[in-house]
Amino acid sequence: MINIDNISKLARLGLSDKEKNKLKKEIPAILDFVNKLNEIKTDKIEPTAQVTGLENVVREDKAQKRTKQEAKKLLDLAPETKDGYVKVKAVL
């Protein structure tokens, strides 16, 4: 049985009671559908996370300089700022 409240907490996703009731029916139906995978034996199969074959793509660990205008563009998008910083509610 899926604990909708717990998953919604993990996902930081608020849900109305109506939505919770709907998801209580829909999610098991979808899981039922994906459970088809249990028909296949995969003990000796390697997982595929990506398909490019690329490995360890790195760049020099160096920050790029940004102009004040660029910084302003980003700050303008934030709902709340103070003294050129993004304002956040207390975390602790």
Binding site: A11, L13, E26, I40
Partner: protein, 472 residues
């Protein structure tokens, strides 16, 4: 003028039959007249477009050489960032978000002189197969306004099919370029994973997402692909693929076409099957060898997709936190702000997928779902590798049915998910696939899907072009 292909419009510009401003105005006027009905656009960037067009006209007047895309109006899916233009990804949570930079594909198009006329409607964050999951109302299919245009690149395909642009960009995570292209009777290419940079594409499921062109001809798709492809240091999964000199010109008589038998089983509209098989027969008539092959894990592809995709999406969408940008509701504390903002900002399908993704990644379920799906993904990829040892390309329907009615599947997620049954495998395996219009049922377009080996993007476009040139 707005009905021209890229190639035709380019010739018109070079021969001075019309100016880029005239061409752009023709497209903008068409949008003003028609888009109330279709609702393909979320934002029309008239000023940006006309400025870009004027710049190209100056170049032409100065007798400078222009590239094929110069001065030609393009519509861009609203999940791709264009600097200074609103970019919502079809979501209320980004309703007022203005992109602060250009996606790499946009940078490349702008360098080629493209004229960006607007941003197109879509299922929220790319999650949907009908366009009905847009936070801003659905797009209608130009062939029948009571039907869906497909999704998630709904507006891009519908705008092109109703001549409200000369070409468009979409993005494809499980079929979102190809399926709407099939429903709207246009060409749609999902490139090999990694050939087109994802920088500036709002992330949905990062191991599957690719940007692709939606065009009126395969030749046009090749022109756009050529311009946007290539390695980009801003996307570490992008690949520099040097095309080795293709020895001989592609000839149909040397072509081996595989027909995966698992794609022609129950659930397919018999009329779709007939039309697609007829298209394949036309290649046969020109000397191609048709070989029935098996992709034994086909029936598991959708299940794999509906684990991997929501898992990646739930992680990607955690960035919408009400703090850095986007829609924001102040709660009593930080956690409360997250919950309230996301509850009101996201639509039903997005919430459903975040919940599934979070569940399959949560402690105790990771191995049973996510790891299992990644392993079956390997088997699906192996199926294709084996198949391409025997044949050059695969041909299948793009979708099991033509466009369905608005509202028909919206309350049944699993039945909606089946719309992607023929398209998701190419994303899981990272291989290229193109949808080509190949006929109609009661006036509704049907698409033939041509799937190629990894990096064979150009080849499948060439094969698509043969269809257009010889069989239409």
């Amino acid at each position: 003028m707005n009905k021209l292909t890229i190639k035709q419009a380019h010739h018109g510009l070079v021969k001075k039959e019309f100016s880029s401003v005239e061409l752009t105005e023709a497209v903008l006027n068409r949008i003003k007249k028609q888009d109330k009905e279709i609702h393909a656009y979320l934002t029309v960037s008239e000023e940006l477009a006309l400025n870009q067009a004027k710049r190209i006209d100056k170049k032409i007047a100065n007798k400078e050489k222009i590239s094929t895309l110069s001065g030609i109006p393009v519509a861009v899916k609203d999940i791709i960032s264009v600097e200074g233009v609103k970019c919502t990804a079809g979501s209320k949570i980004l309703e007022n978000y203005i992109a602060s930079y250009d996606a790499t594909v946009i940078k490349r198009l702008k360098k080629a002189g493209a004229v960006i006329v607007g941003k197109t409607n879509q299922d929220e964050f790319g999650m949907g197969a009908s366009g009905e999951n847009s936070g801003f109302g659905p797009t209608k299919n130009p062939f029948d306004l009571e039907r869906v245009p497909g999704g998630s690149s709904s507006g891009s395909a519908a705008a092109l099919a109703s001549n409200q642009c000369i070409y468009a960009l979409g993005s494809d995570t499980g079929g979102s370029v190809r399926q709407p292209s099939s429903f709207c009777g246009v060409i749609g290419l999902k490139p090999t994973y990694g050939r087109v940079s994802r920088y500036g594409l709002i992330a949905f499921a990062s191991s599957l997402d690719q940007i692709g062109p939606i065009t009126k001809t395969a030749e046009d798709a090749q022109i756009v692909f050529e311009t946007i492809k290539g390695k980009d240091e801003m996307d570490s999964t992008s690949i520099d693929f040097e095309e080795e000199n293709r020895e001989e010109k592609l000839e149909v008589k040397n072509l081996k076409i595989g027909i995966p038998k698992e794609y022609f089983i129950k659930g397919i509209d018999p009329e779709v099957e007939k039309i697609v098989k007829k298209a394949v027969d036309q290649y046969k008539g020109k000397g191609a060898e048709i070989i029935e092959i098996s992709l034994p894990h086909t029936e598991y592809a959708l299940s794999v997709y509906y684990i991997i995709m929501p898992a990646e999406a739930s992680a990607n969408l955690s960035r919408y936190d009400s703090i850095k940008y986007g829609f924001s509701i102040k709660g009593e504390n930080l956690l409360d702000s997250y919950f309230k903002t996301r509850e009101q900002g996201f639509g039903d399908e997005v919430k459903r997928r975040i919940m599934i993704g979070t569940y399959v990644l949560s402690a105790g379920y990771y191995d049973a779902y996510y790891l299992k799906a990644q392993k079956v993904r390997t088997l699906i990829k192996d199926d294709f590798d084996k198949a391409f040892g025997k044949v050059d390309v695969l041909m299948t329907p793009t979708a099991p049915t033509p466009a369905f009615k608005l509202g028909e599947k919206i309350d049944d997620p699993v039945s909606m998910y089946l719309s992607d049954i023929y398209t998701v495998s190419a994303n899981l395996a990272g291989i290229p696939a193109v949808s080509v219009p190949c006929g109609k049922i009661d006036g509704l377009p049907v698409g033939l899907q041509i799937i190629g080996k990894q990096f064979d993007d150009e080849k499948i476009l060439q094969i698509a072009q043969i269809y257009e040139n010889s069989f239409l």
